[in-house]
């Protein structure tokens, strides 16, 4: 689904991604872990064509990321979801559905269904600037669920959420993961949530991939936090 071969990204003299190679298979829940400033968000931005690669090859479902059609069936949730304030919760989710090609009654049904799944049906007619941060993040998740995305990219999804919302988001990810066709790519520095929900991972530090592979094989019985700290500290 995702294939990165020796990719690098420079901002002036600063090397944000340094010769990164990794692959994510279809149907996997993949975690890209690393401390702040490791280059995780830059990697996500290159995946979405928001920044250009300095070197290397990055493919999304076999297509170069510079090709906009590589993003068909891709849903993206940024760390802090925000959209034009005048939209209602319903209107915002509906807009995302439209942009993914949904129309008419299907669009309406899928929008209502997505709002129901994340528990924001009751506030569906409220404007985005009148709802809480947690409700806004849930609306963001609904924008992912409204269409039949095959790849879902979550950038720091647990950041700023209360424990209840974290639990609900984990359930949603688990549900998505149970669909063997969907691939979930999670970019996070919060390790406690990753161990249970991810199949594979890569750890990024200072722009370089330290390890990459199946979670169970890499950890080999030890906890993710201990493994991560030891690895990053050694570097």
């Amino acid at each position: 689904m995702i294939l990165a071969e020796n990719i690098s990204k420079k901002y002036g003299k600063y090397l944000a991604l340094d010769n990164v190679s990794l692959s994510v298979n279809k149907g996997e829940v993949f975690a890209l872990l690393g401390p702040n400033g490791a280059g995780k968000t830059t990697f996500v931005k290159t995946l979405l064509g928001l920044v250009r690669l300095s070197e290397g090859k990055l493919l999304l479902d076999g297509k170069e990321v510079s090709d906009p059609t590589s993003r068909i069936g891709v849903g993206y949730l940024p760390e802090k979801f925000s959209f034009h304030n005048y939209y209602t919760v319903y209107g915002c989710v509906e807009f995302f559905g439209k942009m993914h090609g949904l129309k008419g009654s299907e669009l309406r049904e899928r929008t209502l269904e997505a709002l129901e799944k994340v528990g924001v049906s009751e506030i569906s007619m409220k404007k985005l600037n009148t709802i809480s941060k947690g409700q806004l993040q849930r609306t963001g998740i609904a924008t992912l669920l409204v269409s039949d995305n095959q790849l879902i990219i979550l950038d720091e999804p647990f950041s700023g959420l209360d424990p209840l919302a974290i639990k609900e988001l984990k359930d949603i990810i688990a549900k998505l993961a149970s669909d063997s066709q969907k691939t979930v790519f999670i970019n996070s520095h919060i390790l406690s949530e990753m161990e249970r929900i991810c199949d594979s991972m890569a750890i990024l530090n200072k722009g370089k991939v330290l390890v990459s592979g199946k979670m169970s094989e890499l950890l080999d019985g030890s906890g993710l936090e201990d493994y991560f700290y030891k690895l990053v500290k050694d570097v």
């Binding site: 979405l48 920044v51 940024p78 959209f83 034009h84 942009m99």
Partner: protein, 270 residues
Amino acid sequence: MNFGIIKILTENTIAKEYRNKALLFIFIFTLGVITLATMLLDFINKNFNIADGAQIGDKGFFVMFLAISSISTVTSIILGLNCIKSDFESSSISQILAFPIKRIEFLIARVFGAWIIALVFFLFSIGYTVLMFSLTSSGTFINGSLFLATISMGANMLTLITLSAFISLYIPKLFSFIILMIFRTYTAVTGSYLMSLGPDKLFSDLSIFKIINLFLYFFFPRMQEMDSYSKVFLEGADFDVSSLAFFGHYFVAFIILFSLFGLFFSRKEM
């Protein structure tokens, strides 16, 4: 080109921009000016025993058209400055560009959406003026000349929106507004001067400033000349071969400007 996506984003632009408070204020202000002008015209007609009321009405309408055109210049700049910048301000730009769309499609939708609002503003103001003037004087206001003048004004509004949107990517809004107003005046003055020189003197006594002015004159849409066309059309001039050549140049220069905008935007990192 994915026209379905462009349509959805254009609707999104319109929904986003018509709420612009500065635009609403200018709109109300314009309606107020038109109403006052009508009252003044009515007062003159009734109290000064003017023999040819229709001529006064036509002259008054001409002045109002110029006033609305000037106001539309300001609204076009405001809309252009906001149509893409607001996506950055609301942090929604990365989410929109993460959809399977080309950046040029995004630009077309934003500029076109802003242009539709500017046109509606302009046409509504002209329509309101026609209505009010028809009630108070006997001039002929709706004709082919008005149609040609409106097309000329529409072309200038599109250029201004494109240029404003382009500049807003790199410079804060207030400074962009000031720069654009200065640039608009500067190109108007230098354009008129170069136009008056004639072909034999156009390339003589070349200085750095003259080279820059000539570059703008040949490679940038000539907004001042388009304004002049809108005035002469309104005064009854016909569309002829020289107008066709001018409109052709304007169109090509606009395409160059938009392509340049597209090129810079496609290279911009979010």
